[in-house]
Symmetry: C2
Subunit: 404 residues, 2 copies
């Protein structure tokens, strides 16, 4: 009997957790598993803001796929997914194609610029390792250029962060720590540097407890971060951004603009004919795509409604990893033709938003935390994710142990 062929697209949190759990559950003779990813490494998306700020080396945030997969059970193909053709059970890659009996689409997120003019061209986005590394180098180059200028243009030292959601706040938190280091490295006075967080909504961190939000804002402002709340970005140019609307517009010049305000699912999802909203498919309770009994979608391209508030769950690492576990279980049931598929329900253990490596805010097991306790919990959450992906050795190798 031919072994069923499982193809997993993407080695982010959802894809890698599917593979890690599948290789534990299934014997060598039960299935052929193929993992397809554009890089030969998995990376911790939730750490990228640290790589972008320059507070953590990018090699700390990535893990070679060969070190995670069991190569007796899983084949790895390094290639970029261009399109899925469900009718033919095949995936078109940039340099070839693969066929499948069961498919897991875990293609991650893309930046969503909501049609704001110039953002795609002139703003950076903390999208992946390469992008984060470029942001780090860009900022350093601005500082070095400023130091070597005869007629100083102070705006080179301004960093604008678009969006005061989770990523935007975590990024400015890292910058608050990084800027004094940059000033020292490049002989620049701290007061010359501006970090401005621009947010269209009337508050920072929507959805967070107001008391925690207050703490975060005060803390970051004390560390020199400026907030422009209720301020919409109208356009991004080579010189900076234009905010406001109609007659009431203002230019803010900046050497660096980082857009951290919107994500969407993968364009491959729509390009392959799946019904989706901004690249997110409203999946069945067992995580399969509606109308496709052999295609699972996990991670940022899977849309799940939080019934309590009748709104989608945000795309988080925590949920993607849990989906990977459920997906692996359900695939095992299908392959063995025994047992029962599970319904996916997120188990939100907590949410912690870091404010640099030494402070944070969050809710963990229903308890509000700020300060070093929250920062400690954040590192424990980061280490737990590593543990689930690669076991204790990975936690020792790449984990965060820089406690206060």
């Amino acid at each position: 009997m031919r072994k069923p062929k499982v193809v997993v697209l993407g080695a982010g949190y959802g894809g890698i957790m599917t593979v890690v759990n599948l290789q534990k559950k299934l014997g060598v003779n039960e299935a052929d598993i193929t993992l397809v990813n554009n890089n030969d490494y998995h990376y911790q998306t939730t750490w990228l803001h640290e790589n972008a700020a320059g507070t953590l080396h990018h090699d700390r945030s990535r893990i070679a796929i060969k070190d995670i997969i069991d190569r007796s059970k899983v084949d790895f193909v390094q290639d970029t997914v261009e399109q899925v053709v469900p009718e033919e059970k095949k995936v078109i890659l940039k340099n070839g194609e693969v066929t499948y009996d069961y498919l897991v689409m875990a293609l991650g997120f893309e930046s969503e610029t909501f049609g704001i003019k110039g953002l795609k061209e002139h703003a950076f986005s903390i999208a992946n390792i390469n992008a984060a590394r470029q942001i780090k180098e860009h900022i350093e180059y601005q500082f070095a250029t400023y130091s070597n200028m005869k007629e100083k243009k102070d705006e080179l030292l301004t960093i604008i962060v678009g969006g005061a959601g989770f990523t935007g706040i975590e990024f400015v938190g890292e910058l608050a720590n990084r800027v004094p280091e940059l000033c020292q490295e490049f002989d620049i006075a701290r007061e010359k540097v501006k970090v401005i967080c621009v947010e269209a909504a009337p508050m920072i961190l929507p959805g967070f407890d107001p008391e925690l939000v207050e703490y975060a804002r005060n803390y970051l402002e004390r560390k020199g971060i400026e907030f422009r709340i209720g301020t919409a970005i109208k356009e991004c140019t080579t010189e900076g951004i234009i905010v406001g609307a109609d007659d009431n517009v203002e230019e803010i010049k900046a050497g660096t603009v980082v857009w951290a305000a919107g994500v969407r699912g993968s364009a491959v999802v729509e390009g392959s004919g799946f019904e989706a909203m901004r690249g997110r498919v409203k999946v069945e309770p067992d995580l399969r795509a509606p109308g496709h009994d052999n295609v699972f979608i996990v991670g940022d391209s899977a849309l799940i409604i939080n019934e309590e508030i009748n709104r989608p769950y945000p795309p988080t690492a925590q949920i993607a990893m849990q989906q990977g576990e459920t997906c692996a279980h359900n695939l095992t049931v299908l392959i063995r033709e025994q047992g029962n598929m599970e319904t996916f329900t997120p188990d939100i253990k907590g949410t912690v938003c870091s404010l640099g490596h030494d402070d944070a805010i969050g809710t963990v097991f229903g308890r509000k935390l700020v300060g070093w306790q929250a920062a400690f919990m954040k590192k424990m959450i980061d280490n737990r994710a590593l543990f689930l992906i690669g076991g204790p050795l990975l936690v020792i190798k790449k984990g965060k142990w820089n406690f206060l």
Copy 2:
């Protein structure tokens, strides 16, 4: 009786050696000594190519002036020299002015682009700490940008070095070591990166022993450096350079162009009415400017003829430092109105050109050296310069001890 006022302009090799020797020779009551410099640090100009390549941190190449001068004897003014007015015995600074009885002009070199179109605007020059640091960051940013490009433009990874003289060769030597590190850091294949040294003359390292030149070229070519000898740069653009002449021109695209082919003396020298050729004044044997019995000129702005070949000595750190010693002696004679002024004669102990930190070529005390012996001698020369400036503690702190 009023103490004579000595003003030293510039804290490069010539200026700092003048001050260090003056403060040893003169008592607190014999003279008021003022050192003027645009930075609050001295830097090792001969190490800047390492800072620019990224093989040595710029803080290793600079020394705080307060750590060198004896503050009971020397006042330090951080300011930029704009003009000297010999008739009024005063120096106009950007933010003030100082008067003198005796003046030492040690204003260093500037880049000379020989009127080649676009060089000033689009090429970097290894001119000082700030410029070197910018080159390092620029190269890293090119690599990071390349990694994050969808449609790869390989020319971003091309580094053109204009000039195969001493500085150009030492710089490509460092790049030969640095490029593999950059490739590792930014996930780029080594063969994608080109380092091209372009030289108008028919040979590299003019004036060096042909056997040593042959060794250097073979060594560097083996490490992946390309040479375009007998090739004149016609123009530098935002995209790279144009070489050749008339109908026979060729464009070489590059993300980075560093001009390392020409230096001249300080423009302040000419701007202050001294007769000079490219900022260099043919000084009297006692190092005074012709017609000025209270103005000394040392370092790169002082022109001295090598009678043996009837050509000027090249502007080197070795000569500048020796001039500082002679200048301090002659000033002491003038101030005390006793003893005899010395005639300056360069004492060329040797010349070593590094090819990265682990190889070099040179002639020391008349002996030709290559390989690790030459690299070792180069480090000893660097350490000796530190010793002369700041004594044994400085050598321990900033010296080069990374022997093979």
